[in-house]
């Protein structure tokens, strides 16, 4: 098994999740390598979003949510009592399926994270906003339009602003939940390009319903079905020589 440059950044150990009585995840044990892109694929409703949101505890407040097993970040359980949720979420950040910029200016959106964490110095905020927008490749387009309301931008740029907003808090892990499903093909390409550049510095985990996207961008792929992890491995291996029948069926389009 090939781990990333620095081994495993995140691991789930026998993770099961319940919403009230219904079980959404069944004993998932998966590892996410540092500075790699791991794709989670599987048919709709198989638990991809649920798994992803367990990794920064965004499920905690959902009604009836219950979890057994472990999630380890750098070897430390993130569900142990006394975990600082605010710190956890700056280390493990998330971009959502539908772009959700706040109804504020582009600048205020990107500066939001640092502000929330106590940065109030104008110069420092400007520097952070510029760095984050450069990182997502939006700086040249946006430098003269930083005071525009972010929700007025085209969806593709909105999603990039959301990514910049996340990078501004300097996360180590980036969770992406079908980040391109609301975008046109061009904006999708742009995000995929960006992901390949981001992986030098971040651990990236992307949920996608598009197998071609998984094949294009990811280093490793996890295939899920009905809340279970069916197969996990290097992306090339999963797509060319799957070991499990169900993986093969899904990849060849006979399933979901």
């Amino acid at each position: 098994m090939t781990a990333g440059a620095g081994g495993h950044k995140l691991r789930t150990v026998n993770l099961s999740v319940f919403y009230h009585r219904t079980q959404a995840l069944h004993g998932i044990s998966a590892a996410f390598g540092e500075r790699l892109i791991t794709a989670i694929i599987g048919p709709s409703g198989c638990g991809k979003t649920t798994l992803l949101r367990c990794l920064n505890r965004m499920n905690d407040h959902l009604p009836g949510f219950r979890l057994t097993g472990e999630v380890l970040l750098d070897g430390q359980s993130i569900y142990r009592p006394g975990t600082d949720l605010r710190r956890l979420r700056t280390v493990v950040g998330m971009v959502f399926q539908r772009p959700n910029p706040f109804p504020l200016s582009v600048f205020a959106n990107v500066a939001y994270g640092p502000r929330v964490h106590g940065v109030s110095d104008r110069m420092e905020l400007w520097a952070t906003v510029e760095r984050a927008l450069r990182e997502v490749g939006l700086w040249e387009e946006m430098r003269r339009r930083l005071d525009r309301p972010a929700p007025d931008l085209p969806l593709g740029q909105q999603q990039l602003v959301c990514l910049a907003r996340l990078l501004a808090v300097r996360p180590e892990v980036i969770l992406l939940d079908e980040p391109c499903s609301a975008l046109d093909p061009l904006a999708t390409l742009r995000i995929e390009d960006l992901m390949r550049r981001l992986k030098c510095r971040y651990t990236v985990i992307i949920v996608t319903h598009s197998m071609r996207q998984a094949a294009r961008v990811s280093d490793r792929t996890i295939f899920m079905l009905d809340g279970r992890l069916i197969e996990e491995g290097p992306t090339a291996a999963i797509f060319t020589s799957p070991r499990d029948r169900r993986t093969e069926d899904y990849i060849t389009g006979k399933l979901g």
Partner: protein, 284 residues
């Protein structure tokens, strides 16, 4: 299919007659009120400090000031309280509790204003007198009663605006490591601002127009107040107090006072309407 035309016609008739009534009232107040203002002079009418109907002096400044004092006081007490209630119901309270409390709060709006006035006289006025001094009948008492009366309006509209803020904003903020209060202050309140402003302005309109409860607790002295503990007479209270016996020019001057109120409240409501329709436009 049943013929629905009679129902439609009936509803149309109702709509038509209410609008007509509003227009007629406006026309009546204008026709009756404008001549006095013209005769006294608008500046003298609005800024004159002497209200002596028997001597033919019609300056409403003291009462205008009274209305402003009482209304501003009501907003100072009612807006923070209303926002706090709305934030609690929308963002803190468990959903079932909120669903129980909100209608109860809205029921406050259905209590006749004379009951509020009564409670004010029995509880609030003595309380102000014994703890803070003065006659008790005061700006403070009137503002406090009004604050309770506008609370349902402000709370209910702010609550609805907060509920209309998509959950994706809440999640986006929490996912960046923001706390719940930071999310409320920095994302949710700005997102709900047009609606909140509309609620505050509607509350202001209600406070400006409220008569009976204010009249019962304000003391009604014909002086511009200099402290929150001074008794005060508002424009509405003045009309209610004097209309019963006023004749001739006095009566017209009271109607002119009504005209001033009418214009102010209509303006406030138009602004509120513009704000809330802008919000609806943004939601699309």
């Amino acid at each position: 299919m049943r013929d629905e035309r009679p129902v439609e016609m009936l509803l149309g008739l109702v709509a038509l007659s209410t609008t007509t009534a509003l227009v007629l009232i406006a026309v009546f107040i204008f026709i009756e009120g404008v001549p006095v203002i013209a005769r006294v002079g608008p500046a003298q009418f609005l800024l004159g400090r002497r209200w002596a109907p028997d001597a033919g002096s019609f300056g409403i400044f003291n009462m205008l000031a009274g209305t402003v004092w009482v209304t501003v006081g009501a907003l100072c007490l009612g807006v923070p309280l209303g926002l706090a209630c709305a934030i609690f119901l929308s963002e803190v309270a468990p959903r079932p509790l909120a669903r129980m409390l909100k209608p109860a709060l809205e029921l406050l709006a259905a209590i006749p204003s004379v009951v509020y006035g009564f409670m004010g006289v029995v509880v609030l006025v003595p309380l102000v007198r014994t703890t803070l001094g003065g006659p008790g009948f005061s700006v403070l008492a009137a503002s406090a009663v009004l604050a309770v009366m506008i609370l349902p309006t402000i709370t209910s509209i702010t609550y609805d605006s907060l509920r209309a803020v998509p959950d994706s904003y809440r999640e986006g903020s929490l996912a960046l490591g923001a706390g719940r209060w930071q999310t409320i202050a920095m994302v949710l309140m700005p997102a709900a601002r047009p609606g909140i402003l509309a609620g505050v302005i509607l509350g202001t309109g209600r406070a400006l127009g409220e008569t009976m409860a204010v009249l019962m607790v304000a003391g009604n002295a014909l002086r511009a107040p200099t402290s929150p503990l001074d008794p005060v007479r508002t424009l509405t209270a003045n009309i209610a107090l004097e209309m019963g016996y006023a004749q001739g020019e006095h009566r017209q001057a009271l109607l002119a006072t009504g005209l001033v109120l009418f214009v102010v409240i209509m303006a406030a409501n138009s602004v509120a309407l513009a704000l809330s329709s802008r919000r609806a436009g943004e939601g699309g």
